[in-house]
Amino acid sequence: MFRLLGRKAELYRYKITYLEDEIEIQENCISEEHKNEIEQMLKDKKLSFETQEIDQANNEWFNGLEFKSYDEALEVFNLGEQEYMKRKERLLLIDNLKLRADIDFIAIMSEVEL
């Protein structure tokens, strides 16, 4: 239960369900301010609604991460925090190894002893 605002993932905190023209509509909100705004709009329209808080306690690690696409974000979200951290560490290790290899290459070519 999240959205992508540009590149940034934002967790949904509330779910508001209402009927309009006999169609059930669900609106998700990222903040209390957002929820209040939607609720006020529905009150102005005199529509009855139900608001539920979404438990995101286990997903806070995900909030604010940036992704190139929703597909990528969803894949990471589904991996879970531990797997995401492992992947992140693995990527960091690979980056570090690449960097070390580059430095070694430059040192050898420059005949500099590290």
Binding site: R3, L4, L5, G6, R7, K8, Q26, N28, C29, I30, S31, E33, H34, E37, I38, M41, S69, Y70, D71, L74
Partner: protein, 457 residues
Amino acid sequence: MKTPNYDLKKTELTDTFEDWIDNDAENWDIVDSALKSADEKSAEDISFTDTFNIADGATNVNSALINIGTKADTIKDRKYASVVVGTTQSGHTLADCDYLCDGTADQVEINAAITALPADGGEIIILDGTYNITAKINLNKSNVTISGDGNSTILKRMYDSSSSEGVITLTSANYCKIKDLQIDGNKATYDSSNNIGIRLTSGSNNTVTGNTCNNNTSYGIFLTSSSNNNTVTGNTCNNNTYGIILTSSSNNTVTGNACNNNTSYGIYLNSSSNNNTFTGNTCNNNTYGIYLTSSSNNNTVTGNNCNGNDYGIFLNSGSNNTVTGNTCNNNTSYGIVLVSSGGNTVTGNTCNNNNIGIYLNSSSTNTVTGNACNNNTSYGIFLTSSSTNTVTGNTCIRGTGLPDDYTSGQYTIRLNGTNNNYNLIATNNCMGKAVVVDGGTGNSVYGNKWDAGNDLE
């Protein structure tokens, strides 16, 4: 006799000149005589300053008339079947007209005039005045023109129809013209849902122009049952339930009409009405400005003004329609809506100050490009359960395009829910708030400008 000031080009006959010829048999005799003695040496553009020049039979005149010979022949055929209808209510006498109405059941005289025309048609000229109509004017003969004196010729409905029919009802007649009449639906007194202003049933190549069809309980102008290749232009259809409606009718041109303050639809297209063109119409303050539904495909909706409605332009189950260059502002719900519609092109429209600028619901493979959707209350462009659409090059900003111009519930472009897939959302101007994607798979969102320093790439 009129003494018109005409500009007659060698290849065309102006309506004014045509009217002059139609107005009096003597005028036609002048033209006919000129044609017979034509000199083809000169074909310069001619300017007529008065009827006397034509009567002179000047060489240039003759040449010009030869060049418009085909059209003139058509006029000649029609000329000799011109009938004038007047009414005692306006002081007309039989010296003024061929048929004289008396303010009671005036359709009797008008229908008699139609019946009196030869089988190949002619013209009924209805003089100024109010004509009380207690049964339909039955136009069932081709090549008939019924014309009035604009809003001075009023056909007033004084009855409820027991089945769907117009004050003027054309049935299976072609090449007719209904023009310059005011049809008062009088719905305050006669409120049957069968009451229509002008109805065309199975009629083709007809022209309905310059009429005012207001206050009809049901429709202002109604084309139905394969009424094809007709032209509906320059009419005013206000304060009806539907302004202009086409059902099962194709290849019609509906242009320059005013359809305002109708309780349901300004212009309504239904039941596989295809290849119609709607251009330059004004449809304000209705529930729906222009509404296309039930497999109405390949229509062109361009350059119309649809403001102050609940919905500006609404496509429901329509394919391959082109919606371009329209202005849909200040509608309480949506500027342009596509529901269950695919393969449509929505481009170059202005949809400002609505609740939602452009809304795609369960609609796929549409192209939405180059539209201006600014200062809409909730969304510039909004997609729900819609896939493989191309949304590019649109401008969707609020205020000056700063983050503070948006509340949490206001968006530039939003893909709502988890059923929007494989859409391309690119190179849009979303200053102040980036595109929001709630879910779905395979959506490409890139190159949209949303703040001074960042593009989505």
